[in-house]
Structure formats: structure tokens, C-alpha cells
Symmetry: C2
């Protein structure tokens, strides 16, 4: 028996033609120009209120829907923003996308607003480049790139020559683009400081891949504050191949096998923390009694655990709002003197970082 079976149903369907502005104009006995103005938000005042209402009523009645392609062609602006996200499974990224979308849609009421086009970067050879080219061909008015890497610098720079490009969540150093990011160095330091406050003396971190700037910064901030607070960090630089739970489990095994054990563990994200916790359970250990533990990102899983996890909240709202603000400002005026901003994360203390 095949693993998946299928049941089937068959049917058909007939198409319907859409009405265009010319036809609507003919029906109403007015010029297309008048219709265009009556339906627009910024030029509506040029039309007498009586005809304006007549036109609007007729338009909705006839189910008239303007062809945005034609409008874009003529106008040279599409009122569209391309949002490029590296990984749609990442909770933080999706939250940022959501908030940006909500933000951009908000002013849909007054003015034309900006319609977001979301796309995930394929892991193909030239996913980013291809996506950028697609966006530009679609004539987006701006592009927001979430979690770009240094390798994308060239492609992004090229795109930035044509339309505003805004970086969110992760900036890149090779080129200077407007960005809204998180201060991961401060985030790492925040956790170390928390451990210091709770009198931990020997601590360690389970680091995400150090090729990723995010994790590098978290590690640096954590280590810096360790030194400053006179805490001992062991083992130095326990780095993983990926920031996922299975790697967290491996790291836990290493820590448990070591002779000197830390009393507190900082996992670079909640996935790693979860892996660590699972491994602890296998060894009959519990947190925070045997190990204090702090994660990062305040993902759903960290909240729903029987013992909710102390973790670091990513400044999602701030990053999203600033990214959206940058886009709006730059779309309105390409010479806008923008400011890149770095937002500090915030520790959510749920008690698992305290000494037992």
C-alpha cells in the first residue's frame, strides 16, 4: 500500500470579463480622466462632489477594479514594497514581517499605501540575486531585506542604485544601507549580567554558528561582560554547527562530560536551549536547580514549557516600525537623510536564570 492515497472529484468553470475605465466612462458619459480623478485619493478634490459620488457608486456597482499594471506603467510607481526573508520558519523573522506588513497597510486608508510582496530567498545558487531582479522587474518602490548576509552585499548594492533598500534584523558591514537591527552584543551582555546579578561564578554559553554575525555578537557581548564581572567562562567557545535543538543536545553532552561544570548556561537561541533541556532530562537533571539556563528570542516554545524559560526578547516591534518608517520616508523622498538604528533587546526573567 502506498503511504499516501488519493480520492478524486472532477468539475469545470467559466470565465468572466472585467470592465475597464474606458467602458465605465462610456457608460457614465464622462471622460476617463474624470473617473481617474474621482477614484484617486489625492486628486479627488478636482472633481465636483456630485459627479464624484456618482462615479464612485457606479464603479463599485459595476465591480470596476483599476488595473494596477497600467497605473504603475504610467505613474512610474507601483506602491509596492518587496520583502525578502531568508527563512519563513524562523519565528522572529515572521513576526517582523507581520509587523512590517501591518505597518505598511495601516495608512492604506489615507493615501495609496504600500502593498507588501513577500518572498523567501531560495537556497539556490543565486537566490538573493534572482529575487532582487524579480522585485525590480515588478517595479517595487522599495525593498526590505531580512537577515541578509555579507555575501549578498554586491547584489543589494546593485539593487540599491535603483530603489531604496532597507535592511532589517541583520545589517551588513560591506555597504552602508539604512537598517533596523538588534544589538546582539548588548543581548549577550544582558544575559551575562543577569548571571552575575544572581551570583553565578562559573558559566558557559552554547553558541550558534560563529559565521553568522548575530551569534558572533551575542558571544562577544557575553564574554565581555563575563570578564568585566569577573566570572569564569567554560568551556570557552563551545560553538555549534547550527542553532537547532539537536546541536543543543550535543553541547549538553559535552558540558556534562566536563570535569568542572558551570552553574549557568546561555543558549544563543531557544532552540539550542530546548536541546540542552532535553539532554538534561535524559540525565535526570532539572533546571534551574542543576543548571540555570537562559535562551534567546522568546519564542513560543520558551513560553509553553512546563517551566517557562528566561530568555531575551527580540525588539521585534521597534525593528519593524523603524524598517517600515525608513521605507515610507525613502519612497516619499529618495534624498531623505535616513538613520540606521540598532535596538537593544530585553531580558524576560522567568526565573530560570537564578541560582538554585
Amino acid at each position: 500500500m502506498p503511504p499516501f492515497q488519493a480520492k478524486t472529484i472532477v468539475r469545470m468553470r467559466k470565465p468572466v470579463k472585467r470592465i475597464n475605465m474606458r467602458e465605465l466612462a462610456a457608460n457614465l458619459g464622462v471622460d476617463r480622466a474624470t473617473i481617474s480623478r474621482a477614484l484617486s485619493s489625492d486628486k479627488a478634490h478636482l472633481v465636483s462632489s456630485s459627479t464624484r459620488e456618482r462615479i464612485r457608486a457606479a464603479a463599485t456597482l459595476a465591480g470596476y477594479r483599476p488595473d494596477l499594471m497600467a497605473a504603475t506603467l504610467r505613474r512610474g510607481r507601483s506602491n509596492t514594497v518587496g520583502i525578502m526573508v531568508s527563512d519563513m520558519m524562523n519565528e522572529v523573522l515572521i513576526r517582523v514581517v507581520r509587523e512590517i506588513v501591518a505597518d505598511l497597510n495601516r495608512d492604506h486608508l489615507k493615501g495609496p499605501g504600500l502593498t507588501p510582496l513577500i518572498a523567501e530567498t531560495g537556497d539556490g545558487s543565486d537566490g538573493v540575486g534572482h529575487l532582487l531582479r524579480t522585485f525590480l522587474s515588478q517595479r517595487v518602490d522599495a525593498i526590505i531585506s531580512l537577515t541578509s548576509t555579507e555575501g549578498d552585499a554586491e547584489a543589494l548594492e546593485e539593487a540599491a542604485a535603483e530603489v531604496p533598500v532597507v535592511l532589517a534584523v541583520r545589517g551588513i558591514t560591506a555597504i552602508d544601507l539604512p537598517s533596523a537591527t538588534c544589538d546582539d552584543e548588548a543581548g549577550g551582555a544582558l544575559v551575562a549580567e543577569h548571571f552575575a546579578t544572581h551570583h553565578h561564578r562559573v558559566i558557559c554559553q552554547i553558541q550558534g554558528p560563529q559565521t553568522v554575525a548575530t551569534f558572533k555578537n551575542r558571544a562577544a557581548g557575553f564574554s565581555r561582560l563575563c570578564r568585566e564581572a569577573g566570572m569564569r567562562e567554560i568551556p570557552q567557545g563551545l560553538s555549534t554547527a547550527a542553532a537547532v535543538s539537536s546541536e543543543g543536545r550535543l553541547a549538553a553532552d559535552a558540558i556534562l562530560a566536563s570535569s568542572t561544570r558551570p552553574t549557568a548556561v546561555f543558549a544563543h537561541n531557544d532552540g539550542l536551549a530546548l536541546g540542552f533541556i532535553e539532554a538534561m532530562r535524559n540525565h535526570g537533571l532539572a533546571y534551574p536547580d542543576d543548571f540555570a539556563i537562559v535562551g534567546f528570542n522568546n519564542t513560543e516554545i520558551s513560553r509553553v514549557l512546563a517551566r517557562p524559560l528566561t530568555t531575551v526578547e527580540y525588539p521585534v516591534a521597534q525593528v519593524s516600525r523603524h524598517a517600515a518608517a525608513l521605507v515610507r520616508a525613502l519612497v516619499g523622498n529618495r534624498d531623505f537623510a535616513w538613520e540606521s538604528q540598532v535596538f537593544a533587546p530585553m531580558l524576560i526573567d522567568r526565573g530560570t536564570g537564578r541560582k538554585c
Copy 2:
């Protein structure tokens, strides 16, 4: 101190103009028509190979990028597919979106391919309707709707009059649209059958909201097989307000408080299962020794638990492939005699459904 601080950097940037077909034609001393044909995939044979190569070389050199808006306007086709997803945090939905996107991009090599436009249904008053209208204004060639509800029927029907609309993951009964869905009834039955095989006699299910067809079907299938296999189901119809872990926890409390306890529990999704597990742990109980438990969706969390969960794998690949196939066929030929398909899910046995 404010929870989030900000650091700042300021810079500026200058724009660049894009080249259009007319200019490229002037540079090369050929007609725009020749360029159009040389660059197209289907009419390229009308141009001599020498000029074709000359044009292509010059085009890439000049960084010429055709304006898809203009092309769409003239052609009446955008080679674009709108993908509407109800919840981007849902792992199954995102996996389906991903596979559909990958599938649609695949034939980008030969032929123009279809570019997916992804958007999340706002939870606003008329999220679906608004999104559909936006898509239609963008002149998408087809629309794929993931997890539509019966309430969307009217809006979908209207859209379907203009372009092909394909439903994925969840079908609706009010109208007859091509769809690629999962046989949730069979999924529920699968779990009950598994329990029967492992000699459970008294079992129960933690149901997702029964207003959602998905959960209703799972419940029905499970109950049907319970009766057929002569198992006792208690308490009948333990339904939750949302399919999330906190609700699973509440359900667990109810079950533990009851006098006759089941030996096996079917949670309608992995989130509910997780909540149940957490509550068990709080009571010092462990699975599958105290309760056998089976979830649904094979989400990441079910895999990374210290004791990975027996769960039901959603037929993501099948659903995605069929949805993409439907779209491709219908875009090519609106009178295509389509078939809706219902794919059966598959039980992933990780041992937590067996009797202790």
C-alpha cells in the same frame, strides 16, 4: 531606563536610471520588436542567431531588465500567482507554501514560469476579500488559497469568476473549486486504529475547535474507528477553544481529574500534545508509560522532544504538488478538466502510542 535603547548612524545615496527597450534598440540600431523577440523564449526563433546573440549580450551588458508591468499590460498575463495564507506561524502551511513556490519556480528555466506572490490574510474585518481584490488588481494569473474557511466562499467565488482559484490544505463545501487537501477523517481514524492495534481499550481525544472543518473531520474519523474497533472513548467531545498548548494543558487537567482515565490520548495537533505533556510532567507523570499519546502534523517540536512523539505526517508534498499542478494546468487552459484530490496522511510511529 527604557526597555529598548537605540543607537544611530546617518548617510545618503544617489539613484540610477534604468534603461528601457527603446534606448537599447537605438544603441543597437535595431527595432524594439526585434529585441522583444530576441529576449523572449518562445519567439526567439524568429530572429537570426547572430543578431539574437548580439542583442542578448548587449542587454545583459547594459543591465537591461524588461518592465514586467508594461509587458503584463500588453500581454494581458502577468505570469504571477497569488498565494494567500491564513497564518504564517503555522509550520504545515509554511511548508506547503515553500513547496508550491519551489514547484512553480522550477520551470523557470524553460518558459516564463510563474512568480509567486505570498501574502498573509490579515485578521481584519475583510482580510480575505481585500487580499483577493489586491491580487486581482495586480493581475495575477491564478490564486492559491491556503486554509480558507466557509466564510470566504463568497469572496473566493467572485475571484474565481475572473482567474483560476485553487484551494489547498483546506477545502470548502459551499463552492466547488479545484483543491488539494488532506483527508483529516482518515487521519483521525489512523490514530484510533493505531491505539486499537496496541490494545488500548479506553482512549480519548483532545479536539481542536470544532468550528474548523479540519478538526471536526479528525474527531469524526477517530470516533468512527473507536466504535468500529469497540474501544471506549472518554470523555466524548473534549473540545478546546484553540489548538494551542495552553489549551492542551487545560484539557489534561480535565482528564486527570476524571475518575476513569484513558490509557491513550490523541491530540489534534502537536501544540495540544505538548500542552498535555507539560501538564503531565507537572503531575509527575510521563509518556507513554502513564498515557500513550499521539499528536498531529509532525512539527519540529514533536521531533526534538527528549521522547519524540508519535504523530501524523501531513501530506505536504502531495498537497503542494497537486496544487501547483492544478494552477499550472488552469493557467495554461482555463477549460482544463481539473480534479480535486484528497491525500491521506501517514502515521509516524515513534513509540509513544504503544501501551506501556
